[in-house]
């Protein structure tokens, strides 16, 4: 295959710089020693990271986001693992329609989902509650949990299961001791990807969160609406750090290219 010429490499360099520039700028401004938005030209300072400590709303929102992400991804898996096993192993009527329904939250705009959940949970008397947030997040992360579990279940070697059955294992034992360990990498990556999706969601959550149940993206968004100062950049830098950690874990367990390639197909 032909190699890239100099023009192609210049294009590539500019492209990559533009792609990372906004993220790098946020992280740099977070270290400014000044009291206003500026690049840290006169030395670096952690004053804006320490300043987060004076805003309990951000700390609280961080814990809400963390708990919400962890819990909703876990609950989504409780529903997604059996569904993935059924879709991977059986050919039954309505299988394609079910799969389409389970992946549909990817295609419905999150603003529409936010409105639908706001209406629904308010009528149910759960408006602004943490429980409502959990249920809503289970729905939006479900496709990601399902997709990776499905990939693992489809690629699984069934002969090990048959051996276990021939040795007298059945039902719950078979699932717990044989099937689950075999699909575990897919399940854990599904959890991690679902967690990232939940942790980052703003558009749907902004409709549901009330003071006390505000997630970090919602708190950041409302803060930015009023004014942009270095504090919100240091909070963003922390968020980027959390996401990067999850990304690295995901890469170790599963391979990031596989996760992302699956995601790209999602919109089709």
């Amino acid at each position: 295959m032909r190699r890239n010429g100099p023009l192609a490499l210049i294009f590539h360099t500019v492209f990559v710089i533009v792609m990372v520039a906004p993220i790098v700028v946020v992280c740099l401004v977070a270290f400014t020693p000044e009291g206003f938005l500026s690049l840290p030209t006169n030395g670096v300072s952690l004053r804006w990271f320490r300043a987060i400590g004076n805003y309990p709303e951000f700390i609280h929102a961080f814990w809400v986001s963390l708990g919400l992400g962890a819990l909703s991804s876990f609950v989504a898996l409780l529903f997604a693992v059996p569904a993935a096993l059924a879709i991977a192993r059986y050919r039954f009527r309505g299988r394609d329609a079910l799969a389409a329904l389970f992946l549909s939250p990817l295609m419905i705009p999150h603003v529409v989902l936010g409105i639908a959940f706001l209406r629904f949970f308010t009528s149910a008397g759960l408006g602004g509650s943490f429980a409502a947030l959990i249920i809503a997040h289970v729905i939006i992360v479900f496709p990601f949990a399902l997709r990776l579990t499905l990939a693992a279940a489809t690629g699984m070697d069934r002969t090990v299961e048959m051996a276990a059955v021939s040795l007298g294992a059945g039902g719950w034992t078979l699932f717990r001791r044989v099937t689950l360990p075999l699909i575990l990498p897919g399940v854990i990556s599904g959890w991690a990807l679902a967690f990232i999706q939940s942790f980052d969601d703003l558009t749907m959550t902004v409709f549901l969160a009330a003071p006390g149940t505000e997630t970090l993206p919602v708190r950041m968004f409302l803060y930015i609406q009023d004014n942009i100062d270095p504090l919100v950049t240091s909070v963003s830098a922390c968020v980027i750090a959390v996401t990067m950690t999850a990304l690295i874990l995901l890469d170790r367990f599963y391979g990031l290219d596989r996760v992302l390639a699956g995601k790209g197909d999602a919109g089709r």
Binding site: M1, R2, R3, L9, F11, H12, F15, V16, M19, P22, I23, V26, L37, L78, A80, P82, L85, I87, Y90, F92, F102, S104, M107, P109, H110, V111, V112, I115, A116, R119, F120, S123, I135, A136, V138, I139, F142, D200, L202, T203, V206, F207, P217, M220, F221, I224, I228, V232, V239, I240, T243, M244, L247, D257, L260, K263, G264, D265, G267, R268
Partner: protein
């Protein structure tokens, strides 16, 4: 297999999917139906929401030019964003694909990684780069001599398109990348051996083959841009409304829920029609590629 076992087998998939199915019917289909119904309800400043069946909200959207302008702006921004990602993302995917192994996976990670980083943080980055008339982007463009006077980016459609294109770019690169993986590199060599120059190869060999990838990427980018919330809200400010930010305002500021529900329903229906329609067109046009 005994009859009983066979029956168990037929029931097994339904037993396994039943919890998820109940969850989706209970907390997805019912709320969506309620939203569509809500758009036909009446609303007044003092009386609140009245559960009657009227077309008031739909009439208001159809007749008030404010809504036509807002939807036109939403789709204009989405179209420009899609074009920008296609024009820049497709060549980048092609260049990436020609890199050697280690660089390829490194840069793929750099370009696709932002997909998973908070949209609020990414948009904040653009707000910092744009930052008024003497923002970094304007300073750079002016020192390069590309522009004479600063371009206003904040609170303009230009800024929204640039920031949205950045947010959506990974989807386009990914989609074209997937199309390139199906391409046989030998065809390029064959064309070269027959005397085709680089431009002919790109125009006659590469372009037709990656077009389905570009188009399916375009559908993803378009539908996500048309319903984007964070970027238009932060870059566009309070005055430059798109469908998602307008619905947000109706729900959380004006509290006219039925009207907000009508805007959201219209957005959903329009997007579903556009996505399903263009998918069908692409699949018919490029049937041989999707075999």
């Amino acid at each position: 297999m005994s009859a009983a076992a066979e029956e168990r087998n037929a029931r097994a998939p339904w037993a396994l999917t039943a919890p998820a199915l109940m969850l989706f019917v209970g907390v997805l289909l019912i709320p969506l139906t309620m939203t569509v119904m809500l758009s036909f309800h009446d609303w007044g400043q003092y009386k609140g929401i009245e559960p009657v069946f009227i077309l008031k909200n739909w009439k208001e959207i159809a007749t008030d030019p404010y809504y036509a302008e807002m939807f036109w702006r939403t789709f204009r921004i989405a179209i420009l964003t899609t074009l920008l990602t296609a024009v820049l993302g497709a060549p980048e995917a092609y260049i990436l694909n020609r890199m050697s192994g280690r660089w390829k996976s490194f840069f793929l990670l750099v370009i696709l990684g932002p997909l998973l980083i908070s949209v609020v943080a990414r948009t904040l980055g653009w707000a910092l780069l744009f930052g008024g008339n003497n923002g970094l982007v304007n300073k750079l463009l002016m020192s390069l001599g590309a522009i004479r006077s600063p371009i206003p980016f904040m609170f303009t459609e230009t800024g929204m398109v640039v920031a949205l294109a950045h947010v959506m770019m990974p989807f386009m690169v990914l989609s074209v990348w997937a199309a390139l993986q199906r391409l046989d590199p030998q065809i390029e060599n064959a064309a070269m051996s027959l005397g085709a120059g680089p431009i002919t190869i790109i125009r006659r060999i590469i372009m037709p083959q990656i077009m389905p990838g570009v188009l399916s990427g375009a559908i993803i980018v378009f539908s996500l841009s048309a319903s984007a919330f964070a970027t238009p809200a932060i870059i566009g400010g309070r005055r430059l409304k798109v469908a998602a930010t307008l619905a947000y305002d109706e729900f959380l500021n004006t509290l006219n829920w039925p009207l907000g529900a009508a805007v959201a329903t219209l957005l959903l229906v329009a997007l579903v029609l556009i996505v399903v329609g263009s998918n069908a067109l692409i699949e018919r046009r490029y049937a041989e590629v999707f075999r």
